[in-house]
């Protein structure tokens, strides 16, 4: 995974006519990680979507080198389909082979659940399914929005192991999380420091 990078410079974001934050700089090279912090509603998810290219910042530039995988609060799996089939669609779209998906299912301990329709899964199991999609995608840049929400202790450990393995392979992880993730010296961005002050 050489040449992988995620660089933000001077990013500002406005939602609904309100300036959320501005001047966010970040440079991540391979094997590096960043942790996004800040109270609810400060724009962590918006920054994630900007990094993913789904939202345009009102100022600043983004440079992405590598493919992106995003896990946010929306599941994006077909509820009526068995888990293996629902994830299989994304794996095929990613051009991942069957082994990648099997490995991802194993990494998230979803093996016994592959035949169960997605709508029957619990909150934590759905979250693990979304993370398995990120793992199976083979993307270099992982954007994880609250990846630990709804996960029990054992699953949190699985998540930690997956993140550590991805970083060890030279991937990049940007996470917004309240749970500790085993990232070695992540760049911590406290979005509260970038909140635009109202003009006095």
């Amino acid at each position: 995974m050489s040449g992988v990078a995620l660089r933000l410079s001077g990013i500002a974001c406005a939602r609904g006519g309100r300036l959320l934050f501005r001047g966010v700089d970040l440079a991540l090279e391979q094997g590096e990680s960043a942790l996004l912090r800040g109270p609810n509603g400060i724009g962590k998810s918006s920054l994630m979507r900007i990094c993913a290219g789904l939202l345009r910042p009102i100022a600043g530039t983004i440079e992405r080198r590598g493919r992106i995988a995003l896990a946010d609060e929306r599941l994006a799996l077909d509820l009526e389909e068995p888990l293996a089939q629902a994830l299989g669609f994304w794996a095929r779209l990613d051009g991942a082979d069957g082994h990648a998906l099997d490995g991802a299912l194993e990494a998230m301990a979803l093996g016994p659940l592959v035949g169960i329709p997605v709508r029957m899964l619990s909150t934590g199991q759905r979250k693990r399914a979304a993370l398995a999609r990120v793992i199976a995608s083979g993307a270099e840049l992982w954007l994880l929005d609250e990846p630990g929400n709804g996960l029990d202790d054992a699953s949190l450990e699985l998540l930690g192991a997956a993140v550590a393995a991805h970083l060890a392979r030279g991937g990049i992880v940007l996470a917004a999380s309240h749970q500790p993730l085993p990232m070695k010296s992540p760049v911590v961005i406290d979005l509260a420091a970038y909140v635009a002050e109202e003009a006095a």
Partner: protein, 213 residues
């Protein structure tokens, strides 16, 4: 990739039973119509073709509320965009899947419906030809209004209001083919259909992108 997207959309439509709805609707209208206007064969024959065009148009609007909105809310559209698939490509795939889902089924359902309305062979033939040309336009129109109204409240009703004026040319030329020996109506229908099919992937794609902001 295109085949993958089309196959997935078709599977979704099948699972949500959306494929039967337009067919059932068309047959229902065709079987109720003689009750309303009376069993006069000549009257049925004269007006039945146009009636079936109206039924086909309304049937095409039935699945509109599940074309875009559920996938948008579930994040499917975003996840597909992340994989570098353009919105236009996605909408083209969806248009193909939507047409495959209801176009051929509607054309087959037109056969028993024509029998119920005592249409003669030439009219049925012209009706099928018109539907073959017109249903892609109806699919495109449905997709277009679905993408424009996704995320709005009571989007289903709004989609109907938006689509019906735009569908009027299709109805005029489509039903016009039945009583027209010159073939001009068929050509106009073809032109309207081409236009709608050509602009829909771009317009719907732009609507999806704008909806992210």
């Amino acid at each position: 990739m295109m085949a993958l997207l089309v196959a997935r959309d078709l599977r979704q439509a099948w699972q949500s039973a959306g494929l039967w709805l337009p067919v059932a609707f068309l047959l229902l209208v065709a079987s109720l119509y003689p009750f309303a206007v009376g069993p006069d064969a000549a009257l049925l024959r004269r007006s039945g073709g146009g009636m079936l065009w109206i039924a086909a148009l309304l049937a095409s609007l039935l699945p509109v509320d599940r074309l875009i909105a559920p996938d948008r809310d579930a994040g499917v559209l975003d996840q597909i965009a992340l994989r570098g698939v353009g919105e236009e490509t996605l909408m083209l795939a969806r248009l193909i899947a939507h047409w495959l889902g209801f176009g051929p089924a509607l054309m087959i359902a037109t056969l028993p419906a024509s029998a119920l309305l005592k249409l003669d062979g030439a009219t049925v033939w012209m009706l099928e030809l018109g539907l073959l040309i017109g249903t892609p336009a109806l699919a495109a129109l449905g997709l277009l209004v679905a993408s424009l109204t996704a995320g709005l409240r009571s989007s289903g009703a709004l989609a109907g209001l938006l689509a019906l004026p735009l569908a009027v040319p299709l109805l005029i030329f489509g039903a016009g083919t039945l009583g027209d020996g010159s073939g001009a109506a068929l050509k106009f229908l073809g032109a309207a259909s081409l236009l709608l099919v050509a602009i829909t992937p771009f317009a719907a794609g732009a609507a999806i992108r704008a909806g992210r902001e």
